[in-house]
Symmetry: D3
Subunit: 248 residues, 6 copies
């Protein structure tokens, strides 16, 4: 009975609820989704600066687990802090960008990512390169809709999205669309219906992959990159994050 | 209740049985694995020539389905014919190389693939490049064990495998090992135990990913690359494979 | 006196004749072109599915040679089955995509490929990547003309071609055009006349390269990738393709 | 009269002093180096987890500037938080990895980076890829010396370094060595003397480049990636980092 | 007191004067810029052919130095002959393309180069690839203004430049502009003012980097690529360039 | 009746004779090889500095042609000056590195280049990258034999070559060997005999490809990169190389 920790690394609880609902609708009955919201930090993650302050509260949610989970999902399309999380989590960790791209690369030969603001394009392109999808991903396109505006989703926002999706299909020859923000989780179905190509959303992709992986016997490698942090004192307000003595 | 078609694209039924057993052990209860064996063609797939003759019988197994399935897995590490299968399958299709590499890239920062014969290295490297794992995959190493010899798995074979795994860890700085042949499905557990790094096997990775994807609303894109084959007459013995009139 | 086997891997004999005529017009007098047509399989190769069924008949044409040839050309721009052919052919084997790209990369600093249908773009892009031309090749553009419609070549077809060539020159800054289908062999001259840039066609490029190579003492490497297939039984209708006992 | 802020993003003041001394020895007389140490966070940065907690205190040092500076240097070879710093700094920001690689790529055709622990290899390789040095950089090699042990620099540590440098020169054919840790700033001279190839150290490279850039009229682009953070409330202990109202 | 040799490798002295003026305005007081003009060869460098004949006179200027300098700058955006210069110069050598790209990659996440003629695009793209900026550099765009016409800089020329800059910003999403010709040195300020993004010019970037590097203890690596030329007789008119006996 | 100009761009006539002999042995009877030697410049080309002074005399040999030829071959493995030659030659131009790599990539899935001195490795690696063979070419290995010593070919030289070839086969898993110097033209046969893998030599590869291309209707593109040089005065001793008025 796999338990997955689904982290919304911003502090907007309504977004967590929407994510959780979508997540629960796509997993087998035996899976439990524990959806949690960062207790401090940014209300939304838009660009490199916000990202910095979203990571410690996200790590807190992993550190404060009182019973082990079988997988951790980071519900922001920048895959915010996924490497640090892998270093301390007992269970495998996945970000929704990696998950969505993995699904996209198995359902199409080329895809585009449509995200929110222009400042998020570079962080996403870097992820795409990290994961090796730079040839399959034809473009990362900004719709200029702020993250929290996605909750309202008025006509202007939708038209901006439509325009980028149509550009991706017509100009970039993409065969699938990846929604580049956790806040777009509700739009997957209608957009797929409208455009008749796979529209892939990261939260549902990630829980789908992780509930499956949870049944397999492999965990994050502790060799080199994701080894447990070395015992060390952190000074000042970060003292409580100091890597513990019993790390291997 | 997802049903997955697990295809062994060679004619060796004992391999199918082993694959099916492993597959069934890692999926939720509601998943049904239909394990099938190619009815004609090569007894094992070792290099580019064998691959050619494994694809039509593999496609037959998809075409002859009397009721729809929710996902198709091609159980050969060359991902034999996966593109053609995507063109005709009603359900998503995944090869075990892509599946194993996806899992490896989420559990480690760098991995190596250990396969059977030297002639299989290039087909696998090509897949690795297709999928974008050429930087994460540090090396594809041949153990010089023929595919069917894996079933016996004597000491010499095991020692050859050990040597390549140790080379991957020590010389190539890999953090995880991917087993590059469906015939190695039984070795996952003991090798992981022995080396204390993630050892990833493709059949189990693929059924894991595909039973999850089966619960999501997206299917293979029909735009461009994987469009249904155009209506056309195939001459002679391949006539029965002629793309049907009602393709869109 | 080099003899080259020019294979049309689809069953359309009129295409073979056109290819042979063009091929013969560009080789030295001492070269003999043996032009052959697949005896079964698809009438044209449009996308990954058709490709599968074009390979066994193409291999048959190599296997059934009663006297040795000095080079084999596969006359489809997907370079259909070229790797398998290299494993069994006594003589070097080249596909027309590799040939055309090699000529283009020696006559220009950047080129575009103009092909038939959108479904053929990805198979060609994969070849371009395999061969390392992904930076020199600025784009692979589809004209949406079906392969066999090239034989008629009406005004609409020509206009579609013109549009893609003009896009390649003006938008992609290409300096040469590669015709991405064996069926375009007849258009080389007029298009080159019209656009005053090199227009490169694969069949003529391939016979040109191969008649030259035939005079050199090197043959396909038998080390690793293109080693002769291992002795093995193929079951059922493919039994006659079983790799023979005397392979090294 | 350029003023540069040289940040040691860990809390070890002795390291700051050493860095400052080296930095001051390589800049023109008119340059003022303001060397500062993080006031809280990790005592050294070894891997992805430590990095997270080094960024907020580093950003504090930029935010708390009472008079403008002309350039900011981040003195950790992971270029910890350089993107976030670029978003809020009035002056250009550079990490020492980017600086050292830029110098190396102008003094040699290929180089290797020798760093401390194996867990730092991947973060550095990612930087190398971000900056485009993945072909010029032949290898990132770990000496297995912890960061703070560099201050003692006993024989064992030196021998471990020598071994990696010799491997880089002999096995990887590198023509220059980059020291992959700010703690190695004192070793530059003796290692260069010993090996008679350029040995490049990041702190001195970065102040060298930045005091020059400070005299030029260009600053960080505010277009897209490094735009000032959008006004937004950060909850809880990070509230004081909330992007201010007057950001453009 | 660093002395830099700033070479204009074409014979147009007015260009040298403009370059020298700009160079002197951006370096510390203790730096001496020795600006020199090729004594023979092309009046401007436009494409691969001109480049050939600009290199020997450029090397002459280095060889004829009567007292050592601390750095050499090659003031043509093709970085004409920079590798040969590195082989014989006692001091480090940098071309203005590498310098400008290094600055651009530290002030932005993506940039475009705007140059003169279409024939210069490929030589610059090759440099961009050599240096590893092929992902950060979104495009190299030709304005179709000949090099020497830049000195007049009439309205038509400026409009052509504006059009390419606007294309780079709007269509290619670049965040900074690199001026791809030494003849554009005077335009940096006004273009940066007009477009409010960093506009980077190579001559000033190069003297900035090189006066800094001159204070550091590292020089060009003599290992492999840039080893001093082997003693050898050059026949005929090039005899005086024969590598001397005392090279190491 | 194709006429090919085979240029030895160094002044060592014995090397030209050997190259011409080999070249004539691999072309059809109707081909005429005009073998010429640079009249001034370096006696051998070893590294970037020598290369500079080999180009003007090589261009002279093209410019001084009194009757047109059908193809030009540059017989140095650095493909010295091939771009400039393409700008002025009436006929297509090919270097022997590009030719050898093209043949190697059609006879094997991976190859290594074995060259003379370590200083030639980087110029060759750059060519390999220019042409797109960086994945197929596993390594460029130096044997430390000077170019002219190849003519003697004593036991020490041969052993050094053997060692690198064996390293390429055993350690780099290469399937073919490319001889990385025109001076090795005589060794092709014996090395291929000894190692039983394709051993590919550039001079013979280049004449083979070029006599074929000469029968095709395409020539170097004059669009952008290889446009005829613009009319321009070259000052001083290079005056006679000034691009003529009647260039198109």
């Amino acid at each position: 009975m796999p338990e997955l920790l689904l982290i919304n690394p911003n502090t907007t609880q309504s977004m967590t609820s929407t994510m959780a609902l979508a997540a629960r609708s796509v997993v087998p009955q035996d899976v439990q989704i524990i959806a949690v919201t960062s207790e401090y930090g940014p209300t939304s993650i838009e660009g490199y600066y916000d990202e910095v302050f979203a990571i410690p509260p996200m790590l807190d949610l992993i550190r404060e687990l009182t019973s082990p989970v079988d997988g951790v999902i980071i519900g922001c399309f920048d895959d915010t802090g996924v490497e640090a999380a892998r270093c301390i989590s007992e269970a495998p960790v996945m970000g929704i960008c990696q998950a969505a791209c993995q699904h996209a690369s198995l359902l199409s030969a080329s895809f585009s990512i449509v995200t929110t603001l222009a400042r998020s394009v570079h962080p996403i392109e870097r992820r795409v390169l990290d994961y090796g999808f730079e040839r399959q991903c034809q473009s990362v396109r900004a719709s200029d809709i702020p993250v929290l505006a996605l909750e309202r989703c008025d006509d202007d926002a939708m038209n901006a999205l439509y325009q980028q999706i149509e550009g991706a299909l017509e100009q970039d020859n993409s065969e699938a669309i990846v929604l580049g923000c956790a806040g777009m989780v509700d739009l997957q179905e209608s957009l797929q219906q409208k455009y008749q190509v796979p529209v892939i959303e990261g939260v549902t992709a990630a829980v789908s992959i992780m509930q499956g992986l949870a049944r397999l016997p492999s965990n994050t490698s502790r060799r080199n990159t994701f080894a447990s942090p070395l015992e060390k004192d952190y000074q000042g307000v970060f003292n409580r994050y100091s890597p513990a003595r019993n790390n291997k």
